[in-house]
């Protein structure tokens, strides 16, 4: 297989394994381990196999086109540095899988664990070999997600949940910033391709956006690498199972941050901003975390702070911007991964076998687990920087780098001292780790009797510790060539001369190392007794916890402030919303006229007929009255609205639009009656409204009034202007007038427009009517009358009282009889109304009328029947199925429209002719007539359905009343 495909395989293998692992049963611990082990070792083998071409200075690439338009491609790229990290990811990955097999309890549901672990390994591998910056950001965020899931693996544990959430939020935020930074970087260099970006160092550093880009990228890298001030998530992430900590929080994920910094080091470093921002973060992390680590009581807490501190060391080295410092940084990444992973595993063994990680409880474990203790001691020594171990080498390089000149400020002179101090601290916590746990008196009250772990659980540590030793003693011939491959791939032509020898003679760095060793040991002796009993955390600032500050600000920001802002800038009440909508509409309608001279064409008012003016005066008065009465006198308001409607209707007649007039009249009748029937069920008037008279309420009403008047006035003006528009354009209306008869086959242009020219609108509108009817029915079917509206209306009560007082009358007779005469009339009218409807329908295409008018007429006939007698009486005699009528109407209209397909014309194309019918004579028949019939059916059905829905409320209220009275009787 060629190397391009192998690169792809490196990514695909872990993800495929992850999917497979998730599907295995919950107790398949061994299968899971075998699967994960095979995958990680295969990946490792692939990486090793690629070494010859890498060491030859080749850059392996595999580019798969993905989103070429935005320059985002699935580009994999491996150079020496990526190769070195790949070895870490796959190699330590394999060791961790081996370790986890023994660490995880047989009862643990491990498929989830191994699945997430493999997916994480895949994502991490992705970061390392991404050849496209955006692809790198993608894998970057994936590691955040999987690390969240891994930390929260024991999610029944509060600490695990909190730690997981915190790490997700911190690193996720960093990732989003990183994405923004990389997008900007791509903007500067005009490409997201890593090779392209790496070649554009000077352009980037000189660009005006350099600082924003740097800040955003640093936010991403520093959150990931848990650098001060974003370090606090890492100690909390220690709630994860130890294999996770060993893998993610020592060797891989936290290294992603420094990996990225190194990757971009050639193009971003070397400026003052870079040195200051990165140097400050690095030095603070190095020093503070080393200090904090001393005072941890949790073994893993100590290691977590130590990790932050060592990453701070790497960050500081990178901040210097000198090639030698970069070499040291790369070397220390490698060394730290080896000794820290083994230390985490050792801590896990202690926890596993002794049952606690609290250093106040642990002591004297050397006699119980001598081999583990020895391994841990070597690894700790590497961490402390003891000579002949790998930690010593990179630390020496660090010390010598701090001696150089970097910014020429006071920082330069402080650096060596700070570095030595941090070195001393790390010696202190390393000694503490070993001395407290393995030496001293035998432990008391441990949850379990400690003993050596299974042999295979220790193997990974043995291997790593061996690596520490070998690298530490003979660095030049072991790690040398590999390190050099990595270094040259980053630094290229700037690769400096460096030597990995153990002994460089007695020089300043060596003196600094010795000072740190001795100082650290002394410090431990001084603090030993205090630490044996002290609480967790450094003295003095124990209360000042990053975690606590984070949580508190998160609650304040994301909860209190958010809720306050939501309340301030939003509302859930209807009235303010409607006010806003109308207010904004008013502004929107007015702004084009702002600053212009309002010139209204008032000439056309002169020729106005006085009778018409009076008519409109009445109409306006009715409308105003309706609005005025609407709140408390619904009946009056309704009647006044009817009045306004009638005036509109007469206006249509006045302007020779009989069609509109007929329709308007019929619609007015139906809506008024339906609302009248519904009025009965509306809630009662509230006599007293608490704050009706306060100043605020009055102001609010005044405000609403002003808005209403402005809107009404505005509408009037706009309508007036449009109607008197002098520059009236040529409208499509002319076409309709011209073609209605010749092509539409009807002399009633309005009807032709409705059923032919714009028949599709009618088609939609009847659908709306049908939907509304169905909705009303669906809503009212479940509706139960409100308690305050089930009692018998006052009028009926008076009538029943009258019956009561007269011995010859039965209760209910008056109610039944009082509409006797109109009721008989209404019943007799029914056939005539039907006839009228038929008449309207047939003549519609040429004269005022049509399906809609006919339908409403028919519906009025039905309505009158319901009014004349009670619901049951009508329904016993007249069985209409309104829902079917609606369906039929819709289908008929649709089928008529589709009929024209038969002749190869589009939907709703009409054809008209005259038909000779005996007795009646010649009547115009257009295909539109069938369409109109559909309209008729639907209108009848919809109106009837709503009518029935409302009418049935009274039947319900009888029942409700009966239940109510039965209840009160029981209570009595």
């Amino acid at each position: 297989m060629n190397s391009e495909n192998l690169l792809l395989l490196l990514i695909l293998l872990p993800f495929a394994g992850s999917a497979l692992a998730a599907l295995l049963p919950a107790n398949a611990r061994n299968t899971e381990a075998w699967l994960s082990g095979c995958i990680t070792i295969t990946a490792f083998a692939i990486v090793v196999y690629l070494y010859p071409s890498i060491s030859a200075g080749e850059i392996l690439r595999n580019e798969i086109e993905w989103l070429p338009g935005s320059d985002l491609n699935f580009t994999l790229r491996m150079d020496g540095f990526a190769w070195m990290f790949s070895i870490l990811v796959t190699g330590i990955g394999f060791l961790v899988v081996l370790y986890a097999r023994y660490y995880m309890s047989p009862e643990d549901p491990v498929p989830r664990f191994f699945s997430f672990l493999l997916a994480f390994a895949g994502a991490m591998q992705g970061i390392v070999i991404s050849g496209n910056l955006i692809l790198l950001a993608i894998f970057w965020e994936l590691t955040s997600i999987f690390s969240f899931l891994l930390i929260g693996y024991w999610h029944h544990n509060t600490a695990a949940r909190d730690g997981a959430r915190m790490s997700l939020i911190v690193t996720g935020t960093g990732g989003l910033c990183l994405l923004a930074g990389l997008v900007l970087l791509g903007y500067i260099t005009d490409s997201y391709d890593l090779d392209h970006v790496l070649a554009a160092g000077n352009t980037i550093r000189e660009h005006e956006l350099y600082v924003p880009v740097l800040v955003l990228i640093l936010l991403g890298a520093l959150t990931k690498s848990a650098q001060f001030p974003f370090h606090f998530w890492l100690p909390n992430a220690m709630a994860a199972p130890t294999p996770v900590s060993a893998y993610l929080h020592s060797a891989t994920m936290v290294k992603a941050g420094v990996f990225l910094l190194t990757r971009l080091w050639p193009v971003l470093s070397g400026t003052d901003e870079w040195f200051l921002l990165l140097g400050l973060a690095g030095m603070s992390s190095l020093l503070l975390s080393a200090y904090f680590a001393i005072f941890q009581q949790d073994l893993k807490g100590l290691l977590a702070y130590s990790t932050i501190s060592h990453l701070g060391l790497i960050t500081t080295l990178l901040s210097f911007g000198s090639p030698l410092a970069a070499v040291a940084a790369i070397f220390h990444m490698l060394n730290h991964a080896t000794f820290k992973a083994s230390l985490f595993m050792a801590a896990g063994i202690i926890d596993h076998e002794a049952g606690t990680r609290d250093m106040r409880k642990l002591s004297g474990l050397f006699s119980f687990m001598p081999i583990t203790a020895t391994l841990a001691m070597v690894a700790s020594a590497a961490m402390a920087g003891v000579p002949l171990l790998n930690g010593f080498l990179s630390k020496e390089m660090f010390f010598s780098e701090t001696l150089g000149q970097h910014s020429g400020s006071v920082l330069d002179s402080v650096l060596p001292y700070a570095a030595t101090l941090a070195g001393a601290f790390s010696v202190t916590y390393s000694i503490r780790f070993i001395h407290t746990v393995f030496f001293g008196p035998k432990p008391l009250g441990l949850p379990r009797e400690p003993h050596e772990p299974p042999h295979w659980m220790r193997r990974p540590i043995e291997f790593l510790v061996l690596a520490c030793l070998i690298i530490g003693i003979v660095p030049g011939i072991t790690i040398g060539p590999y390190l050099h491959t990595a270094v040259t791939s980053v630094l290229r032509e700037y690769t400096p001369l460096y030597s990995l020898a153990v002994w460089h003679g007695i020089n300043t760095p060596l003196i600094m190392s010795m000072t740190a060793l001795i100082g650290g040991a002394l410090l431990y002796l001084m603090l030993q007794n205090y630490l044996a009993q002290s609480e967790d955390g450094p003295p003095g600032i124990r209360q000042l916890k990053g975690q606590r500050i984070f949580e508190r600000s998160l609650v304040t920001l994301s909860w209190r402030w958010a809720r306050w802002m939501e309340d301030t800038f939003g509302t859930q009440r209807l009235q303010p919303q409607l006010f806003l909508v109308i207010f904004i509409a008013l502004i929107a309608g007015c702004w084009p006229f702002l600053g212009t001279d309002p010139a209204f064409n008032l000439e056309s008012t002169t020729g106005m007929d006085p009778a018409f003016a009076v008519l409109w005066g009445i109409g306006i008065a009715c409308a105003l009255g309706a609005a005025y009465q609407a709140k408390y006198h619904r009946l009056a308001a309704l009647i006044l609205m009817g009045g306004a409607g009638l005036v509109t209707c007469i206006t249509f007649v006045w302007f020779s639009a009989p069609d509109l007039a007929v329709t308007q009249l019929l619609v007015e009748i139906v809506t008024t009656v339906l609302i009248l029937l519904g009025l009965r069920w509306l809630p009662k008037r509230m006599e007293q409204i608490d704050d009706a008279t306060t100043l605020i309420a009055r102001t609010r009403r005044l405000r609403d009034f002003v808005l209403a008047v402005s809107c009404g006035g505005g509408m009037t003006l706009i309508a007036y202007t449009i109607m008197t528009n002098a520059e009236l354009p040529e409208t499509i209306a002319g076409f309709f007038l011209e073609r209605a008869y010749s092509e539409g086959g009807g002399s009633n242009v309005v009807n032709v427009i409705l059923v032919d020219f714009r028949g599709f609108d009618t088609f939609g509108e009847i659908t709306v009517l049908g939907i509304v009817a169905l909705t009303v029915y669906a809503l009212l079917r479940r509706f139960r009358p409100a308690p305050d509206s089930i009692e018998i209306p006052e009028q009926q009560r008076i009538q029943n009282d009258f019956d009561d007082r007269h011995p010859n009358r039965k209760v209910g007779e008056t109610v039944h009889d009082y509409l006797m005469v109109p009721a008989v009339l209404m019943q007799w009218m029914f056939p005539f109304i039907i006839l009228l409807a038929v008449y309207f329908f047939l003549r519609g295409h040429d004269l005022p009328g049509g399906g809609f008018a006919a339908g409403i007429t028919l519906a009025i006939g039905l309505l009158l029947q319901y009014l004349a007698s009670d619901t049951r009486w009508v329904e016993d005699r007249l069985r209409i199925l309104p829902v079917r009528w609606i369906g039929l109407g819709l289908l008929l209209a649709a089928l008529t429209g589709m009929g024209s397909w038969l002749f190869g014309f589009p939907f709703l194309t009409s054809h008209s002719t005259y038909l000779e019918i005996p007795l009646i004579g010649k009547i115009p028949v257009a295909t539109a007539l069938f369409f109109d019939l559909g309209v008729l059916l639907l209108v009848v059905g919809a109106t009837a359905l709503m009518l029935i829905a409302i009418a049935h409320q009274s039947i319900r209220s009888h029942r409700a009343r009966a239940i109510e009275s039965a209840k009160t009787q029981e209570d009595d």
Partner: protein
């Protein structure tokens, strides 16, 4: 019968109408029959939509794509109504049909039994949506808006209940006002231009006199208010989270596209009417979309954080999505529009899936437990001492595992994290904002680009915080002591399908974005659309009459 592909254009309107009407003849108790009919017609709808999408495709990517014009009643344009199918409308049709099919399958679990006429209302809602996407006539658009809204009133109230009725009536009240504004706006525009056909309007608007232009602007502004209410721009959007949260799950799932109808219309009309005007990006209209969109993202972000229930959270996510799209439209740049179209598809799929998922998740909980109260305790940190508890993991029941995976996928989509399409969508918008083509025209990166970028990231962050908060609460804290929700396979299937669709969208991002870019280009250069409509031929007109031009 001669059924040329031409008639296929109207099929997305007729199929749901006929199926919905047929439902009215079936007894409510025969649910299986009703359900089969609905499923059948929705599948047909999906098939037709995909066919139509392919119809608009041309091999030559540079041209504006094919436009199909359907002249209703065989009247010549611009006098009567016509339907216009182009890339954008075809894309919206496919999206609608996809959401519809999944929401419908979901509803078969239990929701379609919660009240009468669910199937009819649902199908007619589809008719309204499809009609709104297809029509080329401004008043006909109003009619289809009404069809859609009327059906949505019924669907929001479906299943009844006090909360639903209250939110539903608020929704109805606001939307009735919006409809009124729509009508006023259309009347004003007709009053000064004398036409209703969109393409004809585009021509006449450029020739209009100075005095009438003010009136036209006024009409367009009032019309826009109606669309902005529908799209949910702050401060016209307060009804939206409450309504969407209260609506039954399948309704909410299809409502996810309803707010996009407002966006669709704004995008189409703004660019059609003013796209040729070089000053349009600086006009107050575009500026309002831009800043209003930014404010909407901000408000959505705040709301997402302040939400105590998942339903409201999802409602505010709709606002974030709307705000992002409005801002993108307001920027009036082809590249950004292309990114926004991708975002539209991705976020609509995600939100729709989320609405269905929420109902399943909350099914097992009682109301009090599912209300999240973020106090100091809820945020942990009380444990100073290490917990020496026995550390053995808890196996997650299969149902919870599946729901949790879907929830995580929704979260990833909404936050904009990889590997799903939410990330790609956000990236293409960001990348377009800072593409050298755009900035080179202006020399500097405009401040609005920075604001947009900041808000995109902040809204993602807020979603991350809110989703991790409630996700942990729901899946890691609660399952220990709550009953397992009873979830049917057919309820989880549509959610999974929608999420898979986003995965496909991610993997096929290249071709999809090419399509979106072509769509955006044709939107920004509307001339072929206008000419296509105005020159649409009639089907063999009666011989006696010549077509007047």
């Amino acid at each position: 019968m001669k059924l040329s592909p031409e008639h296929l254009v109207i099929a997305p309107i007729l199929i749901p109408l006929i199926a919905g009407a047929l439902q009215l003849f079936l007894d409510d108790r025969g649910r299986k029959l009703k359900a089969s009919l609905s499923i059948l017609s929705t599948v047909a709808l999906l098939a037709v939509s995909v066919l139509l999408l392919r119809l608009t495709h041309t091999d030559n990517e540079a041209t504006g794509g094919r436009i199909a014009v359907y002249l209703l009643g065989n009247w010549p344009p611009p006098f009567a109504i016509n339907l216009v199918l182009d890339r954008l409308s075809a894309m919206m049709l496919v999206l609608t049909a996809t959401l519809a099919l999944s929401a419908l399958i979901f509803s078969l679990g239990r929701w379609h039994k919660a009240g009468v006429h669910f199937h009819t209302l649902f199908l007619l809602l589809l008719m309204g949506l499809n009609g709104a996407f297809l029509t080329g006539d401004l008043f006909n658009l109003f009619v289809f808006f009404e069809v859609m809204l009327a059906a949505s009133y019924g669907l929001v109230l479906h299943g009844s209940g006090l909360l639903r009725i209250k939110a539903g009536l608020h929704y109805i009240a606001i939307n009735l006002v919006a409809s009124l504004l729509f009508l006023v706006g259309v009347a004003l525009i007709y009053g000064v231009t004398g036409t209703l056909n969109m393409a004809d309007l585009a021509i006449r608007i450029s020739q209009i006199s100075e005095a009438n232009h003010m009136m036209l602007e006024s009409g367009a502004a009032i019309l826009s208010v109606a669309f902005l209410i529908k799209a949910g721009m702050w401060p016209l959007s307060f009804w939206l989270p409450a309504t969407y949260a209260a609506a039954p799950a399948p309704s909410a799932a299809i409502f996810a596209i309803m707010s996009k109808v407002g966006i669709y219309v704004l995008l189409r009309l703004a660019l059609l009417f003013f796209g040729n005007d070089p000053d349009f990006p600086d006009s107050p209209g575009a500026q309002i979309l831009l800043y209003g969109g930014l404010a909407t993202i901000g408000f959505g972000t705040v709301g997402v954080l302040a939400s105590q229930t998942l339903g409201r959270f999802a409602g505010f996510s709709v606002l974030i999505s709307s705000g992002t799209l409005l801002t993108s439209i307001g920027l009036v740049q082809t590249e950004v529009t292309a990114g926004a179209l991708f975002y539209l598809v991705s976020s609509t799929l995600a939100i729709s899936a989320l609405f269905m998922l929420i109902e399943l998740v909350e099914r097992g909980q009682n109301m009090a437990a599912s209300v999240l109260a973020v106090t100091m305790e809820a945020f942990g940190y009380q444990d100073e001492e290490m917990e020496d508890e026995e550390i053995v993991g808890v196996a997650i029941p299969r149902t919870i595992a599946v729901l949790g995976t879907c929830f995580a996928a929704c979260a990833i989509l909404l936050i904009g994290l990889p590997p799903l399409s939410g990330f790609v969508a956000k990236f293409v918008i960001l990348s377009a904002l800072f593409s050298p083509d755009i900035t080179s025209q202006m020399d500097i990166i405009p401040a609005t680009s920075w604001w947009f970028m900041a808000l995109l990231i902040l809204s993602g962050l807020a979603t991350l915080i809110a989703m991790s908060r409630s996700g942990i609460h729901t899946f890691w804290v609660l399952p220990v002591d709550t009953m397992l929700p009873r979830v049917l396979f057919i309820e989880i299937l549509p959610i999974a399908a929608l999420l898979c669709a986003t995965l496909v969208l991610t993997i096929q991002a290249g071709p999809v974005m090419r399509f979106m870019e072509a769509t955006a280009t044709s939107l920004h250069t509307p001339q072929p659309y206008i000419e296509g409509v105005m020159n649409a031929p009639r089907a063999a007109p009666p011989q006696s009459i010549e077509v007047a031009e």
